[in-house]
Homo-oligomer: 346 residues x 4
């Protein structure tokens, strides 16, 4: 039984972690961390857990927790983990970080986009970027996992096969993404109120969203060249789900068949990535509550572009689900344990 502790268990990603770990056969939760709700029963904060979780929330003493747990999940604000992590913690247990602190290899880039000083630069090199389908082997041996961002997970998996095969002109890449509102977090802010989000769609963070350098870095590894791209997220009036619609010029000579085959080759053995039948558009409703990513490319012969689409649940595969998938890899368990949910519809 893997003992897991969660710091930040009362945010949306944190409580999703709780939901998933409760249904995991080989893990148990030993620490429900939450600054806002210390000493309150977890099941009183999230009524779905009533009578299921009777534990009370604790603070965020990472050192104490590291002595009790085999793995710590940190679903915390940017900069938090980097400011407290040390060798002692990493000697005691593994850490899977759902924040951005260890996702970007170049600390200067991190500091520029996040506007935060990185206080544990020395640990960046060893952190594994936990996009399991692509970095499976790296993850297995790591002490510290940087769990990918929600947009980067969906963007990279939607584009990866063509970037890897050199089929698209990376300079022409544009990613237009749409997310449900749980991605905005559980903070009490006017722009996230029901009446402000409902019956509305807007872009935000245009040309400046923090997930941009993370996507660029990962696609650079795939393409074998530096990548600079446009990434535009939008806020959609729904709870869960991310949809990516990405555009790029196909290189000369690349056919629709080659495109299709690149996806088949990349994902034929991947349980969580479902390549949809030709001509199908991914929809977020079909992955809700699950760890699946549905992808499908569409070649437009008129324009010479390929439209790469992907749909995913932002707090499952985009956060907590992928974190559990990483835990499974770390501890040599079945990679899909605790994650074989059938998506809930409607």
């Amino acid at each position: 039984m893997v003992k897991a502790g969660i710091i930040g268990s009362t945010g949306y990603a944190g409580q999703e972690l709780v939901r998933l770990l409760l249904q995991h056969k080989e893990a148990e939760i030993v620490w429900y961390g939450s600054r806002s709700y210390v000493d309150e029963t977890f099941g009183s904060v999230f009524g779905n857990m009533f009578q299921i979780v009777e534990n009370v929330c604790k603070g965020d003493d990472l050192h104490a927790l590291s002595r009790e747990a085999d793995v710590i999940f940190t679903a915390t604000p940017q900069g938090y983990l980097a400011s407290v992590i040390d060798e002692e913690i990493l000697d005691n247990c593994r850490v899977i970080d759902l924040s951005a602190d260890f996702r970007i290899k170049d600390a200067d880039v991190y500091e520029k986009w996040y506007g935060i000083k990185h206080e544990s630069r020395q640990l960046i090199p060893e952190a594994a970027y936990g996009l399991c389908e692509i970095n499976r082997e790296q993850v297995k041996g790591a002490r510290l996992i940087a769990n990918p961002g929600c947009y980067p997970t969906c963007s990279v998996l939607s584009i990866y096969p063509l970037a890897k095969n050199g089929y698209i002109d990376m300079k022409t890449l544009v990613i237009d993404a749409k997310s449900g509102t749980s991605g905005a977090g559980r903070g009490a802010k006017i722009p996230n109120l029901y009446c402000e989000v409902n019956e509305n769609i807007k872009a935000y963070g245009v040309a400046s969203h923090r997930h941009t350098p993370e996507i660029e870095e990962q696609l650079s590894y795939a393409a074998g060249e530096p990548v600079t791209l446009n990434f535009t997220p939008h806020l959609v009036p729904m709870n869960r789900g991310i949809l990516v619609t990405a555009y790029a010029n196909l290189k000369r000579g690349v056919t629709a068949e080659m495109v299709r085959k690149a996806y088949e080759d990349a994902y034929q053995d991947e349980y969580f990535v479902r390549l949809l039948p030709e001509g199908t558009c991914p929809e977020t409703r079909w992955v809700e509550g699950s760890n699946f990513v549905d992808v499908c490319p569409k070649v437009d012969e008129r324009t010479g572009r390929v439209i790469m689409m992907g749909a995913m649940d932002n707090i499952t595969k985009g956060a907590a689900g992928q974190a559990v998938q990483n835990m499974n890899l770390l501890f040599g368990m079945d990679e899909a344990e605790g994650l074989r949910f059938v998506p809930v519809f409607p």
Copy 2:
């Protein structure tokens, strides 16, 4: 392994049955019945099942199916099952009917409220009303289970402890219920279009909804007297969930403590009925995708009334989940097998 067949598997309740049975350790689906989608892959109709269910849909030959299956679920229009069921089918297998055909013991009442002639009156007496928490023993031995309606399930469980104890004046009972739109079914009708339902709430079937006699009958058994009541359903712009707010005068001498204790006594051993802490209002979001019913009474000293509230997922506990619970009882399995989901939030 219990072999299950589903007639009407491509409605909302039908596909929920598929979702639940796929995750049930001791059941397997042997027949995906659907008139509208014969020969189409189930996973192409419901994208959440893509790569999970590769079976194709078949027609509704109940006799053939009864020879292949241990249990048949019928999620079909009113009148269908009564028109085709016979002894041969019931000799071959058990039948759990999600329609209203065998819920009401008085066939004349059925015919009056449903406007349909009942073509299998002789089977009505033996059908067990599958509200498991109340009729557990009856269910176990039955050949034919009438799976309760969604509103009746939530209404009866919310009111039962006080009706049973004779604590309320049944003549004063008013049930005001609210349902998500999946309860209206998957038929292509203008009133169910997104733009007609969204940003709207309305009552419907006022003083005439077909679930009224079913609720009255069940509460009559509990109260030991004939019950006539008002039941008013409302359509809410959300996918899933039923909320019941019921009002009745407390009988003289009944205290808030007695009310609370009646619920505790009735439900302390029931896994799926969660009595919320005093002063808490049930919310549909906390039960979404699960088989839980959250209930809580509130006594109003000023008016001498009690407000009985209950929240439930209309297509899980209100249809498919309860059907699986009935299957578990029928076949001597753990009553909660396949139903121990943590509700999904948000």
Copy 3:
């Protein structure tokens, strides 16, 4: 041209007042009051007003404002107006208060339900309760108008004809109400976040909501007897709209025809109250963005009860629209000026 000032113009009711007054032919706004946004352009706070309102927000100096304005609208927290109003202000201009401060004639009742000390008890007697359809004459001569609460407006108008005619047993009256989320205000609170409200319905303030004594008082006047009732509000995942479903026993001898006629008599000359055709259920979508209240009673012969239904836009007729209607009455203008909107659908 009537000069209007608004204190609290950046809440949902306040900005609706702005929307309505901008389209009013005989009024102009001279003061956009808002503590939170002092010195910011109103059109930068509410993008719908961009290039339409270029004024900046001011503070809440009621005395200064009273010298510039003919009428002041206060869309402010409970207790604010009572703490600042004085004779000087009322000598200078008329005041229409959208808070609850002057709605309840018995200050002790106010203080008990609101938990606030009333600091201007001497002004309570002269305040007119601005439910125009019922108190039209009182409103015309008043210095101070207590603009009714949203739930009371819809509840009272839905029930008034039967209470007035003595057709129902007031002791049996139960009001089950449902509101869109704008009624919860624009405060940054977790329970009002999109992901907390969406895909959910719940009751709140059960047996304790502050609008209860206001409804009771107004219905007491209509019925000519003290009224104690149950009022249960529910939060619905939509922006605007209130639906009331009220239940009461008909007195002996009262027929469906008499019920219908009572509504016809009460509202035949009322532009804003639409009595729907027999058998129709009011729906909030049909009144959205307008000052209409749609009502319809339904008699249930089986139970001897009448179900009284009403639908209304909570921030138009339930707040800002009715406030403008009161202004029109106060200044001798056409009562419907600035309020003849066709409801927006879908």
Copy 4:
């Protein structure tokens, strides 16, 4: 008083036309055409119009109507108008067509994308494309107006200033658009049911949507060169609104200031196009129920691209509102008459 007839008045665009014309000072509706609801009261089909419109729906006898009306609006399926229009009708009155029949100058292109034979090719040359801000003069003298599509209106107005000035490389243009569900029409189809649309986002018509050639044609006129582009629409769970996010490479030497100035020059005298302050993202909620289009470009120095954004109400400016604007131009009235609504929020 301009006498207006509407064919197809009971679709979403048709009933919006009714809403707008009812509030227009110089127009009156003389014909409510609707095949589905002949002889039914318009106010019984759309409850928002109850007691406001007491007329009954008539059929679609265009010749009879043309003798009664000064202008006919056709909000009808593709191909209908082209199959019935003739010189007699055009001699009698003006026609504003909300379908696509006369939008595309090359009939072969129309037939290819729409899969319909065009039965009035001879009238295509004289039809004016009714995008008022750009084709104002052409519209004024026309007998037949092709009212633009919803996506083309928002797309063209968002991109026009840069296309016109030659500031962007048209070969790199990608348009990613998002629409509320009213754009899908009022037909009773499963994909448009509440539970299918809610909590979901998807792309559709990828590389094949019929609005593509219309957008390409209009932008070709602006740019002075043939344009081929990608246009991808998405379905958003909301009633109204279109958001366009368009991407193109800036030509060498074009600065952010030049971009800004191009929009200022193009729209400074346009009442309905609001250029938002630098750095602001258009949101559909701010234009709901109005004829405004909010636009704003954002230059990304990193990538050399400009992101052109626009938000609009798809059934007002994207259909009925623009049709009224065209009527105003045709009859020499104030272009904004009947359209000066303040957008409704929330």
